[in-house]
């Protein structure tokens, strides 16, 4: 027996077999496991890709379709299907629910072989859950897949793949900077009047004066920028005119001329701008009206006389249809840059804030200054002022810097929230409280104020945006503007700008573009030659603010 055992011990025949069986038995499942794990990994990667694409597409749709949750869900589902199935966008999964509606929406869809999912998924159903949230304009997408392993079937449940991706608006702090300088009132008007050089546009005969009053602001005879129509009906250039009386050619306004209200035309009223006769001998001082529509004047806190003047012009502008009506009609759409600015800003806010109340904060600053007048005073001096008939009151305002309505975010948001309830609601907005535009164009002061506002945002990590609207030519140097803008962009503030080009020269446009884009590294300047385009310009900026993938 012992000898047989020894013999068996010495006998090596067949020793490999049990070892081989043992190892192979272990290796085969291990090999299968490695194949399955690799398959799971690739499945996971593919699902992540599809889920992320769906979240981005959904957020885009949410953004561009006014927070219509139904449309966003539909786009999300389509994008997901596009990545896991047939690479096309066919299929309607959810109907539109309307702008901003509902505030949250959850939708679940299970894709099966019948939906044409790729063979790669081995017929495993894929469940997609989409959730929308109006609060932050957020789309949350979760996809679930229980994979079918090739070998280790009991791993299937343990290897369930669940991916969640979210896309939302980044927190954005926006400060609007609105130019309220004098040239913003009737800048466009000046362009057309200027083009009518020496054209008689007055009424015929010696009728009453009031029907032919045109509210027009010109400025800066010294720089020769703007023109006005003098009392004799001819175009000339002159400084600091706020009102213009257009009369029959060659007819001087008589010294005892009066408005129909009985008030004398020639009154040395420091609150009035001045009207000149052809010989520059007399002046009439009165304030210009702001850039409001004539139909709005009734509700404004301005002198009744001003209302009457404007209304009279509106009523009687067709006295000479061959001249005035055509002229006025041509001007009508362009007459009010500031009113258009208000409209543009409102449109911007109504458009973007609906995408997420918590995602966006908006501030508003406006600026105007008398800086150019200050410059003028140093050039021509007091006696020259007097010689040119300039108001002493203007001089008393030096040095003068007006930053109109600097507002905290909270103030603005509170009012905008009221305004935007249910979309384009009531207009209880500080945007409507724009002061009358006046003075020089101190853009840098406006930018500083915007920075002050942005610095008071309580949200770290938010994108800082400044949106500047101006008519182009600052009353300080262009190089100072470029330096200022660069200091802001270096600090991470994005600066968009909209420039109304009607009253500025091509060289000014070129300078502005160079200083903003090349020196200041701001976003490309949007130049428009029609205030009616302001809405589109602001919408374009809203569009360009874009979306950010959160995780």
């Amino acid at each position: 027996m012992k000898s047989q055992i020894r013999k068996l011990q010495r006998n090596a025949t067949g020793t490999i077999m049990p070892l081989a069986i043992t190892f192979i038995a272990a290796l085969i499942p291990l090999a299968g496991l490695s194949v399955d794990i690799g398959y799971f990994g690739i499945l996971r990667s593919s699902m992540e890709k599809a889920t992320e694409a769906a979240a981005v597409a959904g957020a885009q749709e949410y953004f561009r379709n006014k927070a219509d949750a139904g449309k966003a869900v539909n786009a999300t589902t389509r994008a997901f299907k596009m990545n896991i199935a047939d690479d096309t966008m066919v299929g309607n999964f959810y109907n539109a629910t309307g702008p901003g509606q509902p505030s949250t929406l959850t939708y679940t869809k299970t894709f099966t072989q019948a939906d044409g999912i790729k063979a790669f998924y081995r017929e495993s159903p894929i469940t997609l859950t989409v959730m929308t949230s109006l609060d932050r304009g957020k789309i949350s997408v979760t996809s679930n897949l229980t994979p079918k392993p090739f070998f280790i079937t009991f791993l299937a449940d343990a290897a369930m793949i669940s991916i969640t991706k979210e896309a939302e608006l980044p927190p954005i702090d926006v400060a609007f900077v609105i130019d309220l300088s004098g040239s913003m009132r009737f800048a466009t008007f000046g362009t057309y009047i200027g083009s009518a050089y020496r054209q008689v546009v007055g009424m015929s005969g010696l009728g009453t004066l009031f029907p032919d009053v045109v509210l027009f602001q010109a400025q800066d005879q010294l720089y020769g920028r703007n023109s006005m129509i003098t009392a004799n009906g001819f175009v000339t250039t002159i400084a600091s005119i706020t009102d213009v009386v257009i009369n029959t050619a060659g007819f001087d306004i008589p010294g005892n001329a009066a408005y129909t209200t009985g008030m004398a035309i020639y009154t040395n009223d420091p609150d009035r701008g001045f009207i000149t006769n052809a010989d520059m001998a007399s002046g009439l001082y009165r304030n210009a009206l702001s850039g409001r529509r004539i139909s709005e004047l009734a509700g404004l806190a301005i002198a009744n006389e001003d209302k009457n003047l404007a209304q009279s012009y509106a009523n009687n502008r067709s006295l000479d249809p061959n001249v005035i009506t055509n002229y006025f009609n041509m001007l009508a759409p362009y007459i009010e840059p500031i009113a258009s600015a208000s409209y543009g800003v409102k449109t911007f806010i109504d458009t973007v804030r609906i995408y997420g109340t918590a995602a966006l904060k908006v501030g508003l600053v406006s600026f105007a200054s008398s800086s150019y007048k200050t410059d003028t005073s140093t050039v021509i001096g007091t006696s020259e002022y007097a010689g040119n008939g300039l108001s002493k009151r203007i001089r008393t305002r030096y040095p003068y810097l007006s930053l109109v309505s600097p507002s905290s975010f909270d103030t603005i948001i509170q009012k905008i929230t009221i305004m935007s309830t249910g979309g384009n609601g009531t207009l209880a907005s500080p945007i409507d409280t724009f002061s009358f535009s006046d003075g020089g164009t101190n853009i840098n002061a406006g930018l500083d104020n915007a920075k002050w506002t942005l610095d008071r945002s309580d949200r770290r990590g938010s994108e800082k945006i400044i949106i500047l609207f101006t008519d182009g030519a600052p009353s300080h140097s262009f190089s100072a503007l470029g330096t200022k803008v660069k200091s802001f962009t270096d600090a991470g503030i994005k600066i968009y700008s909209v420039v109304l080009t009607l009253a500025v020269s091509q060289s000014t446009i070129d300078q502005f573009k160079y200083q903003l884009e090349t020196v200041g590294r701001a976003e490309p300047v949007i130049f428009i030659n029609n205030p009616a385009k302001l809405k589109e310009a602001f919408l374009q900026i809203a569009d360009e603010l874009g979306l950010k993938l959160v995780n």
């Binding site: 890709k49 981005v56 994008a79 596009m82 966008m89 130049f527 589109e536 950010k548």
Partner: protein
């Protein structure tokens, strides 16, 4: 003499090792290269998606999509050993229904536009990363996967924004 040599065990291990080590190394390197191929394949999909998402979020029609400029986004995505060069990327903008390729533009006003980002491996500009790095097939002049090594690609699809950019002036 002949019988003596056959019975003698001296050097047998060396001879066996000489036979088995190449097979063993082949197995080891095959597993390594297979793992690397899986890694690269996975990464190509991830890179394609990251670039597609960047394009979807940031690309603007001005007034058409600047497909040549999409490499800017490709330059922002790198994975060592897999995605090293923007020449690995190619871009195709089509309408979302696959009705046709849209060159630098939007399909039409009714449908969305999508971008398909494709990433290939090995990088055209860097053949040293090919799979496998050492190809035993070269010994007999027949590379296993051809001269360029194993060709891999990944792709991802994202919608492009339906831009509202107005034509001003």
């Amino acid at each position: 003499m002949k019988k003596y040599i056959i019975r003698r065990n001296t050097g047998a291990v060396l001879a066996e090792a000489a036979l088995t080590i190449p097979v063993f190394l082949l197995l080891i390197f095959s597993v390594m290269e297979l793992s690397r191929a899986l890694y690269v394949y996975n990464i190509l999909g991830v890179a394609a998606q990251q670039v597609a998402a960047k394009i979807a979020i940031n690309a603007k029609r001005t007034p058409a999509y600047n497909i040549g400029g999409f490499t800017t986004y490709a330059d922002q995505v790198r994975f060592p050993g897999a995605v090293v060069d923007s020449t690995q990327f190619s871009f195709n903008v089509t309408d979302a229904l696959n009705n046709g390729t849209v060159v630098n533009g939007q399909a039409n006003g009714a449908t969305s536009t999508k971008v398909v980002v494709t990433v290939i491996f090995p990088p055209p500009a860097d053949s040293s990363l090919k799979i496998p790095i050492i190809d035993p097939g070269n010994l007999i002049g027949m590379p296993v996967f051809g001269a360029g090594g194993l060709m891999l690609s990944g792709s991802a699809t994202c919608f492009l924004e339906r831009s509202r950019r107005p034509t001003l002036n």
